[in-house]
């Protein structure tokens, strides 16, 4: 089975899981008392948000190893992860406002976490733009690694601002030092959806990785390059 095939298979499974999460969420999980049905978007929103950040960190890690090992596979992975991260950031940035409108009565608010997601999105855009602007593959990989590492280090700083700046956004419910404060049925659904999104991430990345392999092969194996 080719890599692209595998990727497509995993993505499919993941999408089925996401659908299942929603069936479960809509049919079997209690409606949250204060927020009503709008809270259902939670299962899409939160795992996507987590993976947006995780993907950036993986981009940075891949970059770090690339600088020492010079293995083009690491660079391909970083590229794939960044593109998938961008997609997830887009999901958060669309589901957030859709959720926020009924809850907060406004599409957007300058909550630190919302803003930090927005800037994470900008970070991804910048990263991909730099990749697009440098044509020499070696140089591109190196530059991307440098930017990726900086991006990885930026994520905690952006995160820190959440706790320093007053915020409208819900404080961490699940990922906090004390025990999660979520009804167990919601927690179970949420964990299931997290698994689904992990699969989705793996599936997307695999597909994207296969695509860049194919593109390089099509160029005759010789490293494609040009003036920077």
């Amino acid at each position: 089975m080719s890599l692209a095939h595998k990727g497509r298979r995993i993505t499919l499974v993941a999408l089925v899981c996401v659908a299942a999460v929603y069936v479960r969420a809509l049919a079997f999980t209690p409606v949250e008392r204060l927020q009503g049905p709008a809270q259902k978007i939670f299962y899409l929103h939160v795992p996507a948000a987590l993976w947006t950040e995780a993907a950036m960190i993986l981009v940075g890690l891949a970059g770090t190893f690339y600088l020492f090992l010079k293995d083009p596979r690491l660079d391909r992975f970083a590229e794939a992860s960044a593109e998938v991260g961008t997609v997830f950031a887009t999901i958060v940035l669309t589901t957030g406002p859709i959720w926020g409108k009924p809850i907060w009565g406004t599409w957007w608010t300058w909550d630190a976490r919302l803003t930090s997601t927005l800037f994470l999105f900008f970070l991804y855009v910048g990263y991909l733009l730099v990749r697009g602007a440098v044509r020499d593959p070696g140089l591109r990989a190196r530059y991307a690694a440098v930017l990726g590492i900086c991006g990885m280090c930026l994520v905690p700083f952006i995160h820190l601002s959440v706790f320093l700046f007053r915020t409208l956004h819900p404080q961490p419910i699940i990922l906090k030092p004390s025990a999660p404060s979520l009804p167990s049925s919601m927690l179970a659904t949420w964990l299931f959806s997290l698994t689904a999104f992990t699969l989705l991430y793996v599936g997307f990345v695999t597909q994207r990785y296969a695509l860049s392999l194919a593109r390089d092969a099509q160029r005759g194996g010789s490293p494609e390059a040009g003036p920077v």
Binding site: L129, L147, C153, S161, L164
Partner: protein, 226 residues
């Protein structure tokens, strides 16, 4: 190391001489500062919005702009007669290039800030007397961080087309933590609050500087071509 610093200083001095001789970017930055300050002064309704609430933001928007100007200028300058090509084929290490540009950028931004701050005090009539030293400290802290990152990135995009644009776009997210920190600390200072209230932000700023100055110092060698 000595050699590295000597070469860095050679590059920085050249930049500063050029800047001093043409003054374009410097005066533009100063005038822009004056412009922003003026506009804000006329724009706000003094009874509705107390000065103190606005001042920090205005100060930092201005300073950020000055820094962006400096960073752009830093490599624009190397494009005339393709001097950059000359630098890249010379034995100058990219490390020295980085430090040279960093020094020149910091001097440039410091000068703009040095002019901007009195203008700001004058126009907004904010009481900085008591807090001048900590204020300058915060300015230095925040400026160092983002100029260090910006200089690394400008070395990174320097050989791509649309370098200027790319720089703005990739630098944007990196400006957020130092800016938030700086604005918040400045607000506390001007509001006469005890510095202890701002300690979280000060830590944030210091951590940012430490992380990114060392990261940039470590990473620039990979923007070297060998």
């Amino acid at each position: 190391m000595g050699e590295l610093l000597v070469q860095a200083w050679t590059v920085a001095r050249k930049d500063l001489v050029l800047e001093f001789r043409t003054r374009t970017a410097l005066i533009s930055a100063v005038v822009f500062t004056a412009l922003v300050l003026t506009v804000f002064n006329f724009g706000r309704d003094p009874t509705a919005v107390p000065t103190i609430d606005l001042a920090p933001t205005i100060l930092w928007v201005t300073f950020t702009f000055a820094a962006m100007l400096a960073l752009n200028r830093a490599f624009q300058l190397e494009l005339e007669n393709q001097a950059l090509e000359g630098l890249l084929v010379s034995p100058l290490s990219r490390t020295s290039l980085y430090w040279g540009k960093l020094i020149a950028n910091l001097v440039f931004v410091a000068v703009v800030e040095g002019v901007g701050l009195p203008l700001f005090v004058l126009f907004f009539d904010v009481p900085v007397g008591r807090v001048l030293v900590p204020l300058i400290g915060v300015i230095a802290l925040a400026t160092l961080g983002f100029v260090a990152v910006g200089t690394l990135f400008s070395a990174l995009v320097i050989r791509t087309r649309f370098a200027e644009l790319l720089l703005v776009v990739i630098l944007l997210p990196f400006l957020v933590p130092p800016l938030i920190g700086a604005v918040q600390v400045t607000a506390r200072l001007l509001g006469g609050r005890p510095l202890s209230e701002a300690v979280g932000y000060l830590k944030l700023l210091a951590a940012y500087d430490i992380v990114f100055v060392s990261l940039a110092s470590f990473l620039f060698r990979f923007t070297v071509d060998e």
